[in-house]
């Protein structure tokens, strides 16, 4: 078997899983739907590994292979094949996506066990993995857009999984609408590229783009900005970020899979994939770098004040994706993708830990009600702390190497990028602080009732209610199930979290500067054409960066310790003192309100105007009413004859015949 046939297998397993579960949900008993879904993703991961092995057997300069199944579209000069591109970048993405997805499926087998929509959940989940793999394997923009839109649809289905929860349905709609904005951007971008180069496949576009477009020519800059719109919508960057925190309405494994490890990294992948274009349009790349930096700072500050456990992690995701976008926008592709990989590990781990804690709280998500779970949930405590250490970039964890590599590259670019790097370091300090704010508030501090009961072997059973609004719920289909499952009691959850915890610590070893640069070397064939390929920071600069980053992480964690544990009253005092700033942060910089004022209200006003004036006065009154009146007036005579009286009709016929006879008599005589 060659490389591309393994690529097709990677796609085939999740698709088969989706169809089997979706069509056979009635006959799949108990947890078998979950195991079937897990198996299909596991096989997909195995196929990805085989693909990696086959690809490594190729010589380095021919590691980009296109496999075509058939011609997907051939009309009016537009030719697109159903083809996949296997190169180091797509193989890395496949490995991360299928690997992390496999573990999250395993986790969900137990976590979702009592949900009435169990099989439906796994059908959606497998569909999502299929879409994501299609997105990363696509060899042309058409297939990319197909995968891109499928991912958006799968995300909508999974966010609104508990479809009887009003808040979940609204969050799903919000995510879908914002994702569609991104889809439109991507489609327009692809059209502009096609317009210029006449090609839709990556190889053709990237080959011809330098000949057709000059550096920073308006068309290529516009095309890249449009692609950035797509990337920002999927990756939740400013100002298209508001859907991500709301997406936490979905089940926790969904948050782990889609909104941390895979889907939101699609934007990073897209920029890395289109790097030849962004190098032709440095202006667009700078926009990406600035927006990425703005987002990473914004999200980090909001995460300081958020009180919903899952939302804190969601904002940290936005912030970390900001780092990746910054990385790939300043041509630190290897570093950006390295961070993408390590982030997938530790963020999935954090969400799994959060899911376990939320289950122990019987669905509650507010940090204000949690505390002291350290003894009751030792396994969750250890793994969550490892995840938080990696997120905080604590020395020698995976996040430490990857994040600092991005910032070292940014510093190396000089000029205004130095400002971006400094902002990145400041946000790193905040990151360390808020990640340990979560750990300290959930696992240490005063012990809450649920934790105390759990220590005695009793899992809390609260009222079934929506954690966001407090509305009462039953446990039927469309709402969360009756039972809660914590990692301490379910081996599949443990089996999913343990490897991720190991990876969160050890994954950094594939990219230690000057020592092992395995990942960067592996990705080299994809990025060797880049003009920044030779321009890398010196080892000493990277080492200084690592020391500074590590110091920042330790300072941040220490600050969180002093602030939250040594003097608990300090927290309340500061909140009182900086009420304004706290309010600003807790309202997420008033972005939702701004959108409400700037977009929602004008559009709603236009809608009201349309309904009251255009629709009822013009359309109903003039167009419809006018036509009806005209016809009615014109036909009143004809209607008057139609009496329904048979004899009247007979008389009319006779009169008519009589009239004709008379006429002919007169004419003939």
């Amino acid at each position: 078997m060659n490389v591309t046939s393994y690529g097709w297998l990677v796609l085939a397993f999740p698709l088969a899983g989706t169809l089997l579960i979706a069509l056979g949900w009635r006959v799949l008993p108990g947890r078998s739907a979950g195991w079937l879904g897990t198996l299909s993703i596991g096989l997909s991961f195995v196929a990805s590994l085989a693909m990696l092995k086959e690809l490594l057997a190729h010589p380095e300069d021919s590691r980009a292979l296109v496999g075509t199944a058939f011609t997907y579209l051939d009309t009016a000069g537009v030719v697109a094949d159903l083809s996949i591109l296997v190169d180091p970048l797509s193989v890395l993405m496949c490995l991360v996506v299928s690997g992390v997805s496999f573990l999250i499926h395993l986790y969900s087998v137990a976590y979702m066990a009592s949900d009435e929509g169990y099989a439906r959940f796994f059908a959606y989940l497998n569909f999502f993995v299929f879409s994501m793999l299609l997105l990363v394997l696509a060899a042309n923009f058409v297939l990319l857009i197909v995968g891109w839109a499928f991912v958006g649809a799968a995300s909508y289905l999974l966010i609104s999984f508990w479809y009887r929860r009003r808040t979940a349905v609204e969050a799903g709609i919000k995510a879908f609408v914002i994702n569609v904005i991104g889809d439109v951007g991507l489609v327009v971008g692809a059209f502009l590229l096609f317009d210029g180069t006449g090609a839709l496949d990556y190889v053709g576009v990237f080959e011809r783009a330098p000949e057709v477009f000059g550096e920073n020519s308006p068309q290529i800059v516009t095309a890249c900005l449009m692609i950035l719109v797509g990337a920002f919508a999927k990756s939740a960057q400013l100002p298209l970020h508001t859907w991500l925190p709301d997406a936490m309405e979905g089940p926790t494994p969904v948050s782990a899979l889609i909104h941390a490890a895979t889907m939101v990294t699609a934007g990073v992948y897209l920029i890395a994939r289109c790097h030849p274009l962004f190098e032709l349009a440095p202006a667009a790349a700078d926009v990406g770098a600035i927006i990425g930096t703005a987002t990473l700072l914004f999200a980090a500050t909001v995460a300081l004040a958020a009180t919903d456990l899952k939302r804190v992690i969601a904002y940290s995701t936005m912030s970390q994706i900001g780092y990746m976008i910054l990385g790939v926008s300043v041509a630190a592709y290897g570093a950006g993708l390295f961070h993408l990989m390590t982030h997938a590990f530790f963020k999935a781990l954090l969400f799994m830990g959060a899911g376990s804690v939320i289950a122990a709280m019987s669905g509650q998500q507010s940090l204000n009600r949690m505390g002291g779970f350290r003894k009751a949930m030792p396994f969750t405590f250890v793994t969550f702390t490892i995840g938080a250490l990696a997120l905080a970039a604590f020395p020698l964890t995976s996040g430490f190497f990857s994040k600092d590599e991005i910032l070292a590259f940014t510093l190396h670019r000089g000029s205004f990028y130095v400002v971006l790097a400094v902002v990145g370091y400041i946000a790193a300090l905040i990151t360390a602080f808020y990640s340990f704010r979560m750990v300290f508030r959930v696992f240490l501090g005063p012990t809450v009732t649920q934790a105390r009961e759990l220590e005695q072997g009793q899992l809390a059973h609260g009222e079934h209610a929506n954690p966001a609004t407090g509305e009462e719920e039953d446990t039927g289909v469309g709402f969360p199930g009756a039972e809660h499952h914590i990692a301490e009691r379910e081996w599949p959850m443990k089996a999913a979290m343990a490897p991720l915890a190991l990876l969160a610590v050890l994954a950094g070893t594939v990219g230690i500067p000057g020592l092992t640069e395995t990942l960067e070397h592996f990705l080299e064939p994809t990025f060797k054409e880049s003009k920044f390929h030779e321009s890398v920071p010196s080892e000493s600069a990277e080492l200084i960066g690592l020391v500074v980053g590590g110091l920042f992480a330790i300072i941040g964690i220490a600050a969180a310790y002093y602030y939250l544990l040594r003097d608990p009253m300090l927290r309340l005092r500061t909140r009182e003192r900086f009420k304004r700033i706290h309010g600003f942060l807790i309202n997420k910089w008033y972005f939702d309100e701004l959108f409400d004022l700037a977009i929602v209200r004008p559009v709603a006003a236009c809608g009201r105007f349309g309904r009251s004036v255009v629709e009822s006065a013009f359309v109903q009154g003039v167009l419809v009413g006018g036509t009806v009146g005209l016809v009615r007036a014109g036909t009143s005579f004809a209607r008057a004859i139609q009496t329904g009286e048979l004899r009247a009709y007979a008389a009319l016929v006779l009169m008519g015949v009589g009239g004709l006879v008379l006429y002919f008599l007169i004419v003939s005589s």
Binding site: Q642, T643, G644, E645, L646, R647, A650, L654
Partner: protein, 99 residues
């Protein structure tokens, strides 16, 4: 015999039939009167056919008889259906199809 006698008789029967269709309210009688009108037409056709000495008019008359038979079958069928449903057997009562 002069053809005009036949034509006069035909016109007379036709007028009786037409008057009956317009004045009677029982659908059965209306059908009978329709039959009178058709047969008045037949009489005129045959008279002219004889006068001209060819068979075209007779063929026409035969076709008219076939049509008349069909019409009577349908008409009587409708009347029987109305009778079974105990609807009033009166053409003036059946005026739902007005505009």
């Amino acid at each position: 015999m002069d053809t005009s006698w036949f034509v006069v008789l035909s016109a007379f029967i036709f007028c009786i039939g037409a008057a009956g269709v317009m004045t009677r309210r029982s659908p059965l009688v209306v059908l009978l009167c329709l039959e009178l009108m058709l047969n008045a037409g037949n009489l005129a056709l045959i008279a002219f056919s004889r006068m001209l000495g060819n068979q075209d008019g007779q063929v026409f008359a035969l076709i008219v008889m076939v049509v008349a038979a069909c019409e009577v079958v349908i008409g009587l069928g409708i009347i029987v259906a109305m009778f079974r449903r105990r609807l009033p057997i009166d053409v003036d009562e059946m005026s739902e199809l007005r505009g």
